[in-house]
């Protein structure tokens, strides 16, 4: 099994497919798009563009930026505004981490077992949130 060992291995363009299982609303949503990781002064900049399809509604077009910074044993992922988000441990097939955003909690589980295909599964719970989001990445 080949696993990513260094932040530099993520540089480049990725296609993504996403399924959001919104258990609170009782519906599954699909999204597709791409992500680009570019080198920056502090590491990498992750830029994502996705189109979210919701039944009976026009598609939502969204963007998101994260800052990936090399850290002990892996990558420290920050929000665009600089706040720490979570840690991605490298050298493991299925690293995970947890992020609290009171009153909500976010649990991440990465899967690098088929690298350079990779997946991240977010389980999100809170008073108004109960969903699981699975995103599959592949090289563009």
């Amino acid at each position: 099994m080949t696993l990513p060992q260094d932040i530099a291995e993520f540089v480049g363009d990725w296609l993504l497919d996403r399924v959001i299982d919104d258990r609170l609303a009782g519906q599954k949503l699909r999204a597709e798009g791409g992500a680009t990781l570019r080198r920056s002064e502090s590491g990498l900049t992750y830029d994502e563009q996705v189109t979210l399809f919701m039944p009976g509604q026009p598609p939502f077009h969204g963007t998101r930026r994260y800052l990936w910074r090399p850290g002990p044993g892996g990558i420290a992922i920050h929000f665009e505004d600089g706040r720490f988000f979570h840690h991605l441990t490298l050298g493991q097939a299925e690293p995970g981490d947890h992020h609290d955003c009171p009153p909500d909690s976010y649990d991440a589980r990465y899967d690098f077992g088929r690298w350079p295909l990779w997946r991240v599964r977010w389980s999100v719970n809170g008073p108004r949130k109960d969903y699981e989001m699975v995103t599959d990445f592949r090289r563009r």
Partner: protein, 110 residues
């Protein structure tokens, strides 16, 4: 008079009671773009025409906003689900009403 009564019946009671009137999509855009709202507790939120929004408490948080017909929708990382609200205004304040009936009022900053 009958027609007036029918129109009133279609307006949410929270809007009539507090002097707020519901806004349609274009009115929501006009009410928000380039403006700053101040919320209870002092948080401030601005809205730009390209769909970005900044919420500032002790530090800024970056989100996105979008219109879906007559609904204002927003997305705040790390959440991946858009939340949509009906919007009303009394000219000085903007009221967001969530799908669960939760109400948030913001006052225009000078």
């Amino acid at each position: 008079m009958r027609r007036f009564a029918l129109i009133l019946a279609a307006v949410p009671t929270w809007a009539v009671a507090d002097g707020f009137m519901p806004l349609a999509g274009d009115e929501i855009r006009a009410a928000l773009v380039g403006r700053v709202l101040v919320y209870e507790g002092g948080a401030r939120q601005s809205f730009d025409a390209s769909g970005g929004t900044v919420y500032v408490t002790d530090r800024p948080s970056l989100g996105q906003w979008s219109l879906r017909g007559d609904l204002y929708c927003s997305l705040w990382p790390p959440s991946d689900l858009w939340a949509c609200y009906t919007v009303a205004s009394d000219g000085d304040r903007v009221r967001f009403v969530g799908q669960g009936g939760d109400i948030t009022d913001g006052t225009y900053a000078e």
